[in-house]
Symmetry: C2
Subunit: 630 residues, 2 copies
C-alpha cells in the first residue's frame, strides 16, 4: 500500500521536467508546500477511507503523515498479533514460557500502544481526543492490564492462585485502534441490525416455550423412556433444552424416537415443530439478518462516500485558483504536484491518463466536480499491458526467431498444449491415489515433476517473463510456487531417505499436500470454474474482516473457557496405561458418552485446543454432548 | 373463488335497473351476448393467470366456462388427493384394503382424469392439444397405470409377486393438470436455475475429491483407528463418503477425533475443510440458488404480465366502439355488463368504485390503457368498513344505550382490558405447567375457560358481530375457535371421566393441545410480533406451493423406497418378547448402531413411516446411520 509521505522518494528528474520547483518554502501558483501537503493528506484520507479530524497546522500534518506511514501500520499489527499470541505461552500454555518473559513481552506491547496513542493525541485536538470513546477504551484496557499484571505477579510471588482476567480485554485493542476501521464498521452494522433480530428471536423463544409446554403435557405422564432408560420429557427445563437442541438438528432423530415408537401421531408433533422452528424461523432469521445487515451497510457506505466527498472538497478549497468567468478551478500543474505527493510511485503515463479522464475538454484546469473524483480514480487498478519483445529476442535474435524456436512458441500457445497438460494432471491424480511405495509410482512422480517444470520453462520461453509474472497473473504464480516447492520437498525427502534410510513423516506429509495441490490447476482451464473462483477471491477481503471479527469473539470465549475449565479434562496418549484414561482424567465423566466417543482432546487446556473446540461447537453436531463435560 | 360462469345467478332486479337487456340473442351497443362472454373469459383468464388458448366459437367458450367452474376444480383436486392417498391403503398398507377396492377407486380416478382431458380437448384446437407435452404426459401416465393394474392383477391372481411401479407416476398428474400452474412455474424456475447450480456443485465435488485424496495420503498409512477399532481413512471411497457427511456436519466431531488425537496439526486439515466446504461452498450454493431462482421467477412474472395484458387487449378488441376523434373506447354500459359477467357477486358500490378509478376524467367511456387494468383492479381486495349500529342497539335501544351498558362497552374498548387478559393468559400458562391432577389446578381450568368465554361474549356485546367475525379478522376467529373447542373437549372429557372413571388419553391430549394453543393469543397484543406473523401469513401461499412440490418429490421417493425396502426392518412393541426385537427383525442389523439407538420404526413399511423417515433424512443429523440400514 503506497503511502502519501514518501516525498523524499520523488525522483529529481521528474520535477524539473515539468518546470516545477521542489522545496519546502517554494511556491507554485501561490500555494506553499504546506498547502500541497494538506491537500495530499485530504486526498489520501479519502482514498483509504480514513476519517480522522487532524489539526491543520503544518506540524500536526507532518506528524499525521508519519502516523499513517505503512511501516507504523505493520508495527501496530505485529504488536497486536504478538499480544494476542501471548495466550500460547501463558499458563495454561501450549509452549510454556516463564512468567517474567511473557510479562516483559506484554509490557513492551502495552508500551507500544501507549506510544501510538500519544502520537495520535498530538495529531488531533485535545478536545476531540477525549471525546472519542475508542481512545478512552484503549486507555482503560492498558490500565486494567497493568493492574492485572501487578496483582497476578504479586499473588504468584506469594504463592496464591491467580487469574489473568485482563486477557479477555486484549481483543478490544484490535477493535479500537485506528486500523480497526473495517472491523468497527462490521460490528456497527451487526449492532444496528440487532433490535430487528431480537424480535424474531423473542417470537422464536415464545414458540419454543409453547412447544415445550405442549410436549410436557403430551409426554410427561406417558412413562416413556429413552434408549438409556432415562425418563423422557418429564422436566420442563430439560424439554426446553432438548427441543432447542432439536432446532439445531443435533439430537435428531434420537429425541423423536421414544415418542414415535409410542405412537405415529406424536411424530406429527415433532414434524410440525421442526417445520416451524428449524425451517420457517431459521429462514426468517436469515432473511432478517440479511436485509438489516444490507440496509445498515448501505447506510455506512453512504456516510463514507459523503465524508470522502467532503474531504475532497476541502482539498479543492486549499488548491483552488480563480480563473476568469469559470469560478474556482485547479490547474494541471497543481494537480500534478498533488498526485505526485499522494502517490509518489505513479508513472507519468498513468498520471497523464488520470488527468485526461478528469479534464476531458482539455482546458488545462478542472472544476470541483471533476476534482472530487480524484480519490476514486487513484483507487482504480490500471493494468498496463506492454507488448515488450522477449528478452531472448533482443539478446539472441537469430536463435529465438529461427523456425524451430518459433514452432515451439506456436506449440505452447496452442490450446492443445493446455489440454495435454490437463490430461497429464488427471493421470497424475490417478498415480497419487495409488500406493506410493511401489517403485514404479515413486519414479513416475519424478517424471510428473519434470513435466510440470518443463511446462513452466516452455511458457517462460514463449511469453515475456515480466508479463508472465505480473501482479494479476494469479495462476502463473500459484503454479510456479507449487511446482518449485514440490521439487524442493521431493529432493529433500529423497536425500533424507537415501542418507539415513529413514523417511521423515513431516516432510512426506508436505510432499503429499503439495502433490495434491498441483491438481487444483485443472480448475483454471474451465472458464466457469475460474469465474466462481475469481468471485470468491474478490469477496476475500470482506470474508477476512469477518474472520477477524470471529477470531475476536472466539478469543474472548477461549480466554473465559480456559480460566474456568483448564485441566478439568485431560487427554492421554493411546499408549498410556493410566487408569484415568477411561474417563479423561475426570471422575465425573465415568461412563459418559463424552469419554466413550474419545472426545477427551476437546478441552480448554490450552489456547489451540480451545479454538478447535469452539470451532467444533460452531459446526453444531453433537455439541450438546461436548457442552456437558464441565 | 368466484368464477365467471355464474350468469344464471345474476339478479333480475339488477339488469333492468341499468336499462340493459338480458338474454342470449339480445345486443348492447351492437355487441352480442357471445361477445360479452368471450370478453369475460379473457378478463377472468387474466385475473387468475390462466394461459389456455381456447377456441373462440360460442360453443367452445361455453365449454371453457364449464371447464373453469370452481366445482370442477374442487372435484379434480379431490380426485388427485384420493389417487395419491391410495398409497395408505395399498400393500404395504397402513390400513389394508382388499385389492379389488383400491383398484376400483384407482379406476374411478383415472376415468375422472380421462373425462377432464376429453373436456379440455374440446375447448382448445386439436393441433394445440397434441402439441402440448402436458396432455401427452397425462395420457401416458393413464395408459401406464392401466397397464400396471392389469399386469399386477393378473400376476397376483396367478400367485406371483408383483410390483406396483406405476404408483411413482401419480404425482405427475398433479403437476400436469391445468390446476398445477403454480407448481409448474416453481418447477420451471428450479430447472432453469439448475445449470448455474451445477457448476458450483461440480466445483464442490472437485474440492471434495481433492480433500479426500489429501486425507488418504495423510492418514491412510498412519494406522489410526476409530473408537470402534475400525481402520480409519484407508479406502478412498469411504473417505469421500465420510467427508461428504462431514459437510452436512452429521458426523462431526467423531470423524475428526482420531486424527486430532494423533496430532493437533491434523485438526487444521479438518478446519480448513469445514471452512471451505461447509461454510464457503454452502453459502455460495445458497447465493447462486437465491439469485438464479429470483432471476427466473422475475422472468416468469414478466411473461405472465405480458400474457395478461395481451388477453385484456383481446377483450378490449371484442368490446371496443368508435367514438369521434378519440379512437376505440369501451362505454360504461359495456364495461358494467362485462364486470357483472366476470364477477357476479360484486356489489354495485364496488363496481362504481372500480369504474371511477378507471375513468378518472368522468367521460363515460375508457380507452385501452385504462381498460387493461381491469383484471388487476378486480384482484384487489376492497375492505368495506360499514359503521353499522350494534343489533342490540336497534332491537333494545333503551337497555343497550343505558349508562351501565355503555360503561361495559367503554371498559372492553380500553387497552387495560387487553392487558388484563394478557396477564390472565400468563397466569394460565403457569397453571398449565403445574400438575393437572391436583384438584385445585383442575378447577382453575374451568375458571380460565369461563374467563375466556366471558371475554368473547363481552367483545360480541361491544363490537358489531358481523364486523367482529369479518373475513380479515384472523385473530377473532382463532380465539373463538380455540376457546369453544377447548370448552367442548373439556366438557366431553369430564363427562367421560365422571361416567366411567376412565380418562380417554386421546381426548385429554386434545384438551392439552387446545389449552396451550390458547396462549398464542399473547402474540397478537405485541405490535412487532403481529407484523412478523402477518408477513408469514402473507407468504403462506408461496410456501404452500413449495409444500406441494416437496410432497411430490417425497411421494416419488417414498414409492420407490417402499417397493425396494418394505418389510426389511420391522418394529416391535416395547412389550414384545420376540428375540428378533434386538435387531429390528433383520439379522444384518445385529449389533448395529441403528438397532441400538432404537431406530427400528424408521422404515419403509408403509407410506406414513416412509414420509416420516424422509423428513428425518431431510433434517440431516445421523442420516448416515439411517441410510445404511437397507
Amino acid at each position: 500500500m503506497p503511502e502519501p509521505d514518501k516525498k523524499q522518494q520523488m525522483t529529481p528528474e521528474e520535477a524539473p521536467e515539468k518546470g516545477e520547483t521542489n522545496g519546502r518554502s517554494d511556491t507554485l501558483n501561490g500555494k506553499t508546500r504546506d498547502d500541497f501537503d494538506l491537500a495530499a493528506v485530504y486526498v489520501s484520507d479519502a482514498q483509504y477511507n480514513r476519517n480522522i479530524f487532524f489539526e491543520t497546522t503544518p506540524e500536526a500534518i507532518r506528524l499525521y503523515l508519519l502516523y499513517n506511514h505503512w511501516v507504523l501500520h505493520i508495527v501496530v499489527y505485529a504488536v497486536i498479533v504478538v499480544d494476542l499470541a501471548l495466550a500460547i505461552f501463558e499458563d495454561p500454555a501450549v509452549i510454556p514460557l516463564p512468567i517474567w518473559a511473557t510479562t516483559l513481552i506484554e509490557l513492551v506491547c502495552l508500551a507500544a500502544f501507549v506510544v501510538r496513542l500519544v502520537h495520535y493525541a498530538k495529531v488531533i485536538s485535545r478536545e476531540r481526543f477525549w471525546k472519542d470513546p475508542k481512545n478512552i477504551c484503549i486507555i482503560c484496557v492498558i490500565l486494567l492490564s497493568l493492574t492485572d499484571i501487578v496483582i497476578y505477579g504479586s499473588l504468584k510471588a506469594t504463592g496464591y492462585t491467580a487469574v489473568r482476567w485482563s486477557r479477555v480485554l486484549r481483543p478490544l485493542l484490535l477493535i479500537n485502534i485506528t486500523e480497526g476501521r473495517q472491523l468497527r464498521r462490521a460490528f456497527r452494522s451487526i449492532r444496528n441490525a440487532l433490535p430487528q433480530i431480537l424480535y424474531v428471536f423473542l417470537l422464536f423463544m415464545f414458540s419454543l416455550l409453547m412447544f415445550s409446554l405442549m410436549a410436557l403435557k403430551l409426554f410427561g405422564k406417558k412413562g416413556l423412556t429413552t434408549t438409556d432408560g432415562d425418563a423422557y420429557f418429564t422436566s420442563y427445563l430439560e424439554i426446553v433444552f432438548d427441543l432447542y437442541v432439536l432446532v439445531t438438528t443435533a439430537n435428531s432423530p434420537d429425541i423423536i424416537m421414544p415418542a414415535y415408537n409410542s405412537s405415529v401421531y406424536f411424530a406429527v408433533f415433532f414434524i410440525i415443530y421442526v417445520l416451524i422452528n428449524t425451517y420457517i424461523f431459521m429462514s426468517v432469521f436469515l432473511a432478517v439478518v440479511y436485509n438489516n445487515y444490507k440496509k445498515y451497510l448501505k447506510e455506512e457506505v453512504r456516510q463514507l462516500v459523503r465524508a470522502n466527498r467532503h474531504k475532497m472538497a476541502r482539498a479543492f478549497g486549499v488548491l483552488q485558483e480563480w480563473k476568469g468567468g469559470e469560478g474556482p478551478v485547479v490547474t494541471q500543474a497543481s494537480w500534478n504536484q498533488l498526485v505526485r505527493l499522494v502517490q509518489p510511485d505513479i508513472s507519468n503515463a498513468h498520471r497523464e491518463l488520470l488527468w485526461s479522464v478528469s479534464d476531458n475538454n482539455n482546458e488545462g484546469c478542472i472544476g470541483k466536480v471533476a476534482f472530487v473524483q480524484l480519490a476514486d480514480l487513484l483507487n482504480m487498478t490500471v493494468i498496463v499491458v506492454k507488448s515488450r519483445p522477449h528478452p531472448l529476442q533482443t539478446s539472441l535474435p537469430s536463435l529465438y526467431l529461427s523456425s524451430p524456436s518459433q514452432l515451439v512458441c506456436r506449440m505452447v500457445r496452442h490450446r492443445w498444449f493446455v489440454y495435454a497438460f490437463d490430461f497429464i494432471i488427471l493421470v497424475n491424480a490417478v498415480f497419487i491415489g495409488l500406493d506410493e511405495e511401489n517403485p514404479l509410482i515413486a519414479n513416475a512422480e519424478w517424471a510428473f515433476l519434470a513435466l510440470y517444470f518443463l511446462e513452466i520453462l516452455l511458457k517462460l520461453y514463449t511469453f515475456e517473463p515480466k508479463a508472465f509474472f505480473s501482479r494479476h497473473e494469479f495462476w502463473n504464480w500459484f503454479d510456479t510456487l507449487i511446482v518449485v516447492s514440490a521439487l524442493i520437498a521431493t529432493i529433500i525427502n529423497s536425500v533424507v531417505k537415501s542418507s539415513g534410510g529413514y523417511t521423515s513423516r513431516q516432510i512426506l506429509d508436505i510432499v503429499f499436500i503439495l502433490r495434491v495441490l498441483r491438481l487444483i490447476r485443472v480448475v483454471d482451464s474451465i472458464q466457469r470454474f475460474r469465474a466462481i473462483i475469481n468471485t470468491l477471491v474478490r469477496i476475500g477481503p470482506t470474508i477476512l474482516t469477518f474472520g477477524q471479527l470471529i477470531v475476536v469473539v472466539y478469543y474472548i470465549f477461549a480466554m473465559v473457557g480456559m480460566e474456568l475449565f483448564k485441566g478439568k479434562i485431560r487427554f492421554f496418549d493411546a499408549e498410556s496405561t493410566d487408569p484415568d484414561r477411561e474417563f479423561c482424567g475426570n471422575p465425573l465423566l465415568k461412563n459418559s458418552l463424552f469419554a466413550k466417543y474419545n472426545y477427551c482432546k476437546n478441552n480448554f487446556n490450552d489456547v489451540v485446543s480451545s479454538f478447535i473446540l469452539l470451532l467444533e461447537l460452531t459446526v453444531v453436531n453433537q455439541w450438546h454432548d461436548i457442552l456437558f463435560k464441565a
